[in-house]
Amino acid sequence: MQRRELLKAALAGATGVAVAGLHRAVLAGADLGAAVQQPFLDAHQRRSISALAELILPRTETPGAIDAGVPDFVELMLSDWYTPEEREPVVQGLADLDAASREAFGRDFVDGSRDQQTEVFAATEGGEFFGFFRRLVVLGYVTSEPGLKALGDYRHMTGSYNGDVPVSQQPRPMVNG
């Protein structure tokens, strides 16, 4: 079955958990970047966004930003959600990272070592770009399947509510998205 047909079948039959799971799996495997309606980023900006997202939420014992598809989500939001005016701090911030990296290390931000990238990005903490970009990366991560399941105990059918549970029994917060 083609992906489109899978999606159609999944959307038509909201009754079955199995079908919903299929829909989810299809989307998780889908390249959300391909869904961008008004693309404007160039290849260099895309690479910078990926590097920066992974710097903020790196792969550790749990999936990192790239594993969770965060760069594609950031591109979607910048392209199709925010207006050119609203996204300007990010566009400018990415250019500023390059300028700072070239001055300090003689290369663009994305081509720097992890330590060099860390130093350049850390210098922006407290500024508009840092807050905006980090918020977007976190949002993309905690609303992705790998990210949410890494941070929380994801459930959509719990069957009960318990208002007083020792954290020792529930070390990760229960989340429903």
């Binding site: 989810r24 989307l27 903020i56 903490e125 918020r135």
Partner: protein, 563 residues
């Protein structure tokens, strides 16, 4: 009279479903007209149990679409991609408002209406409410008291299924409840704080139209959380899953969706509705239906719009509007006032499951006459609850980035406790809706225009909410307490009420004590339009009780040949 139907019910939501259920069960052949599209149980719950990653914008409605088609609805908290199919399209169905005095008309455009997405909180009125207008002189006296409606609360609660705790309070009568949902550990802490330090106040879990025990063909809540996406186990009450199917089971229900009511026809004497004029929303074709009795259950604004657009020779200012009060005394509940703080000492405790309900602090102001320190009349209640803060909040608080930042994101956040005030808005003659003299909608029906605002009593009440809410959180040991009055926009409470009020005297009211139009005895209005005052509690269960009471009265009158 040789009518096609015994009864026509206009609207299929919280009240229309009840009118249909009662009328059909009394043996009446009933037509329900719904202007929205037909939806089906389960099939149309596209977002139920979906995850954020199932949507490109992770559960948000694409911004361009929201700004173009849902510019009013999208400002409401529960508007999201999971339940987009229910909401009214603001571009296709415009209304007129003064930007200086905005009114937010939050509503759906589907079968079963807002019963699909309602907050489900169910609180009985008491005589403190029914006598309020008479006592302080705002508005006119209600033609009924608690004793008139109490048996009908029993009647509807037994069908709806309301879970909650009995408190024995005179200002908030107990109902027929299933077992209450559970308070969490911090809510219990605040509850005991109030018990010790504010003996006039109580904190209980919300009384809510969600099953905690199985009932009929409906299962107890499975605690997935977001009811407003639809519930395949029918655990929350909606017209789609309870009242309309029960009406259908009688074999006497006919249902027409995409049926926009343009107006009502009356006979030559002007004292009897003879027909309902309908425009098909899909193809524009026109039909006229006849019945012996007509129930307007089209929502406060929808019903009054229909009455206004039914003006004619005998009713120059709108049908049943000899009093001139039709469209006046629009009310809502104050909404958006929030008080929040961080509660400490429970860092080793958390919750499991997603309780689709919060806490309730029943009204404690101006109960025995006017409180000495209150510079406002009437009162308010608090909803809200406690919970541990989530990942996105943590991201705002935590410094840095990288592995340590990522690790810290995943922990349990601090406990926060929130109160949200819901206050009574006084009936004021100059809070109005009317028909625009020029602008028409896509069906050629005059657009509704609003002229409403919060006034001094509401603003003083909101200031008191913040003061009292902060004091309670402080007593519970909370830190970082903050509060805000909210936007104070009429309609945002989504409890719009009034504009066709009940009363004893036909010269100052539209409806009598049975929700029956004084001037047109075979016409009943049983949705929020009928309200003479607003109380501070969520109104739906009262609308349901009034509707069931009126429908059975109408059936009695028909049987006796009186209408």
């Amino acid at each position: 009279m040789n009518a096609q139907f015994d009864a026509i019910v206009i609207g299929s939501g919280i009240t229309g479903g009840w009118a249909a259920r009662e009328l059909t069960r009394r043996g009446l052949k009933t037509l329900v007209l719904e202007r929205g599209r037909r939806i089906e149980h389960i099939t149309d719950y596209q977002g139920e149990h979906k995850a954020p990653w199932d949507y490109p914008f992770r559960g948000r409605v694409p911004r361009e679409l929201a700004e173009r088609d849902y510019f009013i609805q999208s400002q409401f908290g529960w508007f999201d991609a999971y339940g987009l199919q229910y909401w009214n399209n603001d571009r296709l169905n415009p209304y007129v408002q003064d930007p200086e005095k905005p009114f937010h008309w939050v509503h759906t455009d589907v079968l079963a209406g807002r019963s699909m997405v309602w907050g489900r909180q169910c609180y009985r009125w008491s005589d403190l409410d029914f006598e309020a207008n008479k006592r302080d002189g705002h508005g006119i006296d209600w033609p009924i008291r608690y004793a008139d409606i109490a048996p009908w609360y029993d009647h509807v609660e037994q069908v709806v299924g309301v879970s909650g705790e009995k408190l024995g309070l005179s200002q908030l009568p107990d109902g027929l409840f299933q077992k209450p949902m559970e308070l969490n550990v911090v809510e219990k802490h605040v509850q005991s704080t109030l018990r010790d330090q504010f003996p006039d106040r109580q904190l209980t879990v919300g009384r809510v139209a969600i099953l905690t025990e199985p009932k009929d063909d409906r299962a107890a809540c499975h605690y997935c959380g977001p009811c407003h996406r639809g519930c395949s186990t029918k655990s929350y009450f909606s017209a789609l899953t309870v009242t309309l199917p029960q009406a259908e089971a009688t074999g006497r229900l006919e249902l027409r969706t995409d049926a926009v009511v343009e107006g009502l026809d009356v006979d030559a004497s002007g004292t009897r509705v003879t027909g309902v004029r309908v425009i098909d929303a899909k193809d524009g074709s026109r039909t006229r239906y006849e019945a012996k009795v007509v129930f307007l259950c089209a929502s406060t604004i929808g019903s009054t719009q229909i009455l206004m657009n039914s003006a004619g020779e005998n009713h120059p200012n709108g049908l049943a509007n000899g009093s001139g009060v039709l469209g006046r005394y629009m009310m809502d509940h104050t909404f958006g006032t929030g008080i929040t703080g961080l509660v400490h000492g429970f860092e080793d405790r958390t919750t499991t499951g997603f309780r689709p309900n919060g806490i309730y602090v029943p009204r404690f102001r101006n109960l025995e006459g006017q409180d000495e320190d209150a510079d406002f009349v009437r009162g308010y209640g608090f909803q809200g609850g406690a919970g541990r803060m989530g990942f996105t909040d943590a991201a705002e608080r935590l410094p840095g980035f990288g592995p340590d930042f990522k690790k810290a994101l995943g922990g349990h956040g601090p406990w926060s406790m929130r109160f949200f005030g819901f206050g009574e808005i006084l009936p004021h003659p100059d809070n109005t809706m009317s028909l625009d003299p020029v602008l028409k909608d896509r069906f050629g029906i005059p657009q509704v225009r609003f002229d409403t605002q919060y006034r001094d009593n509401e603003k003083r009440m909101i200031a008191d909410m913040m003061k009292q809410g902060e004091a309670m959180l402080k007593a519970a040991g909370a830190t970082g307490i903050s509060s805000g009055p909210g936007q104070m926009i009429m309609g945002r409470g989504v409890h719009e009420m009034g504009t066709a009020r009940m009363g004893h005297d036909p010269s100052e009211s539209v409806l009598n004590g049975w929700n029956q139009a004084h001037e047109v005895p075979n016409l009943f209005v049983t949705d929020g339009a009928c309200m003479t005052s607003g109380s501070c509690v969520n109104p739906s269960i009262t609308y349901m009780a009034l509707t069931a009471r009126a429908a059975n009265h109408a059936a009695d009158l028909l049987a006796e040949g009186k209408i």
